[in-house]
């Protein structure tokens, strides 16, 4: 592989790592009660409305849920404890995002597995294509082409 191509690959790898790092890096500092309340409320389904989270809804039950979440945070409950309270009350369907345990883990894991396998396949394909010798026209090939073009040029247009 030429140095230029190697540099391109290294550059792409660095870019991918940077993008992942920015996307996955946890935000610095301890989140405020308000931020935690909003984050948890955005994970819970509004029971009165279709397709809205508790954070987005203005129904009485959503308002009450937000107050309850905030009170629980102030009492020192962890995010996971609060999620579990709501799952125990309403069932898994209260969560807008599937849980990362039990059957829900498939939803999270499978796209990653498919991505990794797909990337592996792509790497193999690129390596295979890279190993194939580049076709170069020989003098005999060029002579054949020249002959063919000369023949076409001498024939009258239909």
């Amino acid at each position: 592989m030429s140095t230029g191509r190697k540099l391109v690959w290294v550059g792409l790898a660095v870019l991918a790592v940077l993008v992942l790092a920015v996307a996955l890096w946890p935000s610095s500092g301890t989140p405020t009660v308000r931020a935690r309340t909003r984050s948890l409320a955005s994970e819970l389904r509004c029971v009165d409305c279709e397709g809205l989270s508790v954070a987005e809804s203005s129904t009485a039950s959503a308002r009450q849920t937000r107050r309850d979440i905030e009170a629980r945070i102030r009492r020192g409950q962890s995010d996971q404890d609060i999620r579990q309270v709501y799952v125990d009350r309403f069932g898994e369907s209260i969560l807008l995002k599937p849980s990362s345990s039990g059957i829900g883990v498939i939803v999270w894991a499978l796209p990653v597995i498919v991505l990794v396998v797909g990337a592996g396949g792509l790497v193999l394909a690129l390596r295979r294509w890279g190993r194939q010798p580049r076709l170069v026209a020989t003098d005999a090939d060029e002579a054949l082409v020249a002959q063919a073009r000369a023949r076409e040029g001498s024939e009258p247009d239909a």
Binding site: V47, E92, S93, I106, G121
Partner: protein
């Protein structure tokens, strides 16, 4: 014969996609919100409640230990609540003097004025909560709408739950379950 690695990769991806499809099919074949049709509180300790009713009287779960409590979540603007109102009125008219069973109306997502007006107009003579205690109970009992009705045994366990309008027969059964559990 040499197997090409692409065949294995394609096979692996195919198996993964097929497995995903099976899991999805199994889960989608059941209503993902099926748990909204029943209460998860059944058989569990009833969440405590504390209300002030329209007459200004304090009503707490602690004070009602030893009685069967029927909590009816409703509001003034819900049509199914109006549908079940005659059943509640008929049931209450024959049980208002019972000392072992109590009916409490718990408004859900409504204003104090509308609750008071509806209770007066519809002759809801049973206790009707009219403060923030109702909002707390709405959440504690994991209600998803209205009407919803819960029966609490004399020893404080949720023994029955009805999502949707009740009829006299259902209310009688709730009271009977409570007496049996006493």
């Amino acid at each position: 014969m040499k197997q090409h690695p692409f065949r294995w990769i394609a096979l692996a991806v195919g198996i993964a996609v097929a497995a995903f499809a099976v899991v999805l099919a199994v889960n989608v074949s059941t209503d993902p919100r099926a748990d909204s049709n029943s209460s998860r509180l059944l058989g569990k300790a009833a969440p405590p409640f504390s209300f002030t009713d329209l007459a200004g009287k304090k009503v707490t779960s602690a004070d009602l230990v030893g009685k069967t409590v029927i909590l009816n979540f409703w509001n003034s603007w819900c049509a199914p609540c109006r549908d079940e109102l005659p059943a509640l009125q008929r049931w209450y008219s024959t049980h208002r003097d019972d000392t072992d069973v109590v009916l409490i109306g718990v408004p859900r997502d409504d204003t104090s004025g509308a609750i008071r007006a509806a209770a007066r107009q519809d002759k809801m003579d049973w206790a009707v909560a009219n403060d923030h205690g109702a909002e707390a109970a709405t959440l504690d009992y994991a209600t998803r709408g209205q009407p919803e009705t819960f029966a609490i045994s004399p020893n404080g366990v949720v023994i029955a739950a009805q999502i949707g309008p009740v009829n006299v027969s259902t209310l009688d059964k709730m009271a009977a379950y409570g007496r049996r559990a006493a």
